[in-house]
């Protein structure tokens, strides 16, 4: 291709390219010396004749248009499509994971491991952790559902009369309570993810579940009161960092009081149901 076939770049465009190149070279020279000589001067951009009727920014040529090429030559010029790239699965990373066809046991194991890892954040809470608001980023609702149902069942087993009513009230209190507490924080202007908050409040029931189980086995009022007080403090301590970090300091008490009230009412049910 001869030089007469091309037009040089506009000076301002060339200057932009040079500027970028200088910046790159400067950054490279600061750290590692150049391993090869600087790139040769830029080739000029060829300008093809536009066949379309759209107005071109360039002045139309006085020369007659070139003779049309035969079909064979046109097809020869068109580049062939690139070969298909090998998929990730065939390029050394192994087959892509497919959760639809995996065994049910694998799915259950994965969900259980997630519940256990989330539970660790609650069972061993750290109020001084760096970002308590980001607790349970990998939230799920299986854990809370299990703990709510378990607590309802434990209370209904403990009850001597109206077992079904006890389960219904306990389940409704816990499920509706978690939703209302989350809405309360949102209405107070707190920054909170709805389902993440539901998940956390459900996981915080775990100590009370343990307390309910102990109280079902030990039919002694004093033991019940002591166990419930300990598990209540544990649950409240677990929920405190997350709920308090969600709202402004002036509204901390307004966000935490309802949480404490719900856990106290659950604790009372554990003691009262005989």
């Amino acid at each position: 291709m001869s030089h007469s076939d091309t037009i040089p770049l506009h000076p301002s465009s060339q200057s932009d390219i040079d500027e970028i190149e200088n910046l790159i070279n400067a950054s490279v020279h600061q750290s590692v010396p150049s391993a090869r000589p600087p790139s040769p001067p830029r080739a000029s951009i060829p300008v093809s004749v536009s066949v379309s009727t759209a107005p071109s920014p360039f002045i139309s040529s006085n020369l007659p248009p070139p003779p049309p090429l035969p079909k064979s030559s046109v097809s020869a010029v068109t580049p062939s499509p690139p070969p298909p790239r090998p998929g990730i699965a065939t390029s050394g990373f192994g087959p892509a994971p497919n959760t639809l066809t995996e065994p049910v046991w694998d799915t259950v194991k994965r969900d259980l491991s997630r519940i256990v890892s989330n539970l660790k954040l609650v069972v061993f809470p750290n109020p001084y952790r760096e970002d308590p608001g980001k607790a349970l980023r990998d939230w799920d609702l299986w854990g809370p559902f299990f703990f709510i149902v378990f607590l309802g069942l434990t209370l209904s087993w403990s009850a001597s009369v109206k077992k079904s009513e006890v389960f219904a009230v306990a389940f409704a209190l816990l499920a509706a309570g978690a939703v209302i507490l989350t809405l309360n924080v949102l209405l107070l202007g707190g920054h909170i993810i709805f389902f993440q908050s539901l998940s956390l409040l459900g996981y915080c029931l775990f100590p009370l579940d343990v307390g309910a189980l102990i109280c079902m086995l030990k039919d002694n009022v004093i033991v019940k009161v002591v166990v419930v007080c300990v598990t209540l403090a544990w649950s409240s301590w677990a929920a405190y960092p997350f709920m308090s970090s969600a709202v402004s300091p002036r509204r901390k008490a307004l966000a935490l009081y309802p949480v404490f009230l719900m856990y106290v009412s659950v604790g009372f049910l554990i003691i009262a149901i005989d």
Binding site: M1, S2, S4, D5, T6, I7, H10, S12, S13, S15, D16, E19, I20, L23, P46, V47, S48, V49, P57, F58, I59, S61, N62, L63, P66, P67, L69, V77, A159, S160, V161, K162, E165, V166, V169, L173, L183, N184, L186, L187, L188, G189, R250, R251, K252, A253, L254, Y257, P258, L261, V264, S265, F268, A272, I273, D274
Partner: protein, 262 residues
């Protein structure tokens, strides 16, 4: 090579100037400051449906959005505590004026919820003690929770709603949220009253219920009196009925929750 496909403009006699890009005045895009394109619009400055800014909703849909209730929860801990303190001094009669510009629903809702829990738990404890003192078998009644929930939530919603309609009829309209706020805080006095009802003396329980009912009724009546007086001669009747209703609530609490039959 493929010279047939390209046209040289070197040899042409070009009249005029070829449009250039970028414009000659442009500095380098990296070092120099970039300018906004001339045809820029405010498409990206407008909130989109997924953005944090609440969208203006019309009609009934507004009732289902969280943003429409946020102004009624725009209170701090100090504000709520001050309003609770005001509710314990019923003879001031300034509560309605203080909250007129900024009524809240946080206090009424959580005071009601606390009352439900306290009523159910203290009621249970009272019956438990009564049965144990007479060495009789005792079973927990879960219906105490549902009954107290129905009583308090029902009272704090239906009574202000009826009063709102009545005041509208007499052309002295008051804000519904303001009435909810007033009635909600008026119930706070029943929390310590219920706690004192643990004492197993029937006369003492009646006294506590009477004092709490009187304080609550006075608080509501005095705060609404100034507003209702413009309703003409009927204002006395309205205030009296408000007073009696609050006393009736106190009596209902005593009879339903603290009258133990062993």
């Amino acid at each position: 090579m493929m010279s047939g496909n390209y046209t040289s403009i070197d040899s042409q006699k070009v009249s005029g100037s070829v449009p250039t890009f970028p414009p000659s005045g442009a500095q380098g895009k990296i070092g120099g400051g970039s300018r906004h394109p001339r045809d820029v619009d405010d498409t990206f400055s407008k909130p989109v449906s997924g953005s944090d800014e609440p969208q203006q909703q019309s009609g009934w849909f507004k009732a289902f959005s969280l943003a429409s209730y946020k102004p009624y929860f725009d209170v701090d801990t100090i504000d709520v505590l001050d309003r609770i303190k005001d509710s314990l001094y019923p003879f001031n009669g300034t509560f309605n004026e203080k909250t007129a510009s900024h009524p809240d629903l946080y206090g009424p809702f959580w005071i009601c919820t606390t009352l439900i829990f306290v009523a159910a738990s203290i009621g249970t404890f009272v019956t438990y003690i009564a049965h144990k003192l007479k060495d009789q078998e005792w079973n927990y009644d879960i219906n105490l929770v549902t009954w107290s929930a129905g009583l308090f939530y029902g009272y704090v919603t239906i009574v202000p709603l009826c009063l709102y309609v009545i005041l509208k009829y007499f052309s002295v309209p008051s804000g519904f949220v303001q009435l909810l706020c007033l009635y909600g805080y008026s119930l706070f006095v029943f929390i310590p009253a219920l706690c004192m009802s643990v004492v197993p003396l029937e006369i003492f329980r009646w006294m506590v219920a009477g004092v709490a009912g009187f304080m609550s009724a006075t608080f509501v009546a005095l705060n609404l009196r100034a507003h209702i007086m413009s309703a003409g001669e009927r204002w006395v009747l309205i205030v009296a009925s408000i007073f009696v209703l609050q006393l009736a609530l106190a009596v209902a609490l005593k009879v339903c929750l603290f009258t133990v039959t062993v």
